[in-house]
Symmetry: C2
Amino acid sequence: MNLLLKNIAKHVTLTPEDEGRVLFLTEPQTFKAKTILLKQADVCTQSYFVIKGILRSYTIDENGVEHVVSFACPEWWIADMYSYLSQRPGQLFIEVIEDAEVIVLTKENQEKLYSEVPKTERFFRILIENSLIANQKRLINNLTFTAEARYDIFTKKFHSILPYLPQKQIASYIGVTPEFFSRMKAKLLKK
Amino acid sequence: MNLLLKNIAKHVTLTPEDEGRVLFLTEPQTFKAKTILLKQADVCTQSYFVIKGILRSYTIDENGVEHVVSFACPEWWIADMYSYLSQRPGQLFIEVIEDAEVIVLTKENQEKLYSEVPKTERFFRILIENSLIANQKRLINNLTFTAEARYDIFTKKFHSILPYLPQKQIASYIGVTPEFFSRMKAKLLKK
């Protein structure tokens, strides 16, 4: 069964006709590693459901420093949610880290899905709730935990893709410099 | 007109019967400043729509240090979204800063609303989308902006309630110590 339909079936029950509409309104695509799917300041018009491979989103600040905002592995969605929902220029880049198969859902087709298959509204509400939960947790972790504790949380959450992630991107995600990250890992190994 | 119904009407159109159900399933309450509406590690069973006054959410880390996560002014909702949505013990306290009138919506009644007035599902999806957008922005701001720039964004966002907020809570929200915050404000005044 299509991985996207399986994902939807976890939350809402669709009829075969509904499923047909979902498949009609989404499009499988493959991308090579290092492909940039979205650039900072562009409007994000599509979201990606990952079937295979790894994607990440990041932003570049005024001083040219890159900050990783999220990683997406199979069965996760990725988009610049701010830009996707508001249809204003966004802050994020989206890049393929490992050769990827994704399912593309355009904003336009998502609106069609809402009206043609109203149950998908519930599905996307739950998805957005889950993103909000993850975001709130991350915000609180950044405020309250040490870098070591944040690294520990990170390794648990991204266990399956850890071997594929460059060290400097992990450092960026947990909010430390690559140098600090190397020293911290060396210290942890000695424990 | 009831401020909550007005707020809902910005996003979805309810019939008079629908509005009656909303009023029946929500409850106005008043709280004195310093009232604690939710404690860390409790399950958040209700969300609050602010009519008057100011509320805030915060967390306390392992070292006993308080971190302000959000402020809520009139026409904003506040809850520990992680706990409210998952019905697991949360990380946040919710406290009344200025005497408040709120409308309380319990998780149970929200589920009833979804089934009795399906249009409210769209309303809450939009609310949650907006929270997600705000959270993403805050996360990126914390990663990429200096404390001065974060303070500038803060004063614009919370312009109307600024005179009521203790300095140390503003410092905590933007992620600096009260001492650093005082020095920064003194420096900004000299500019």
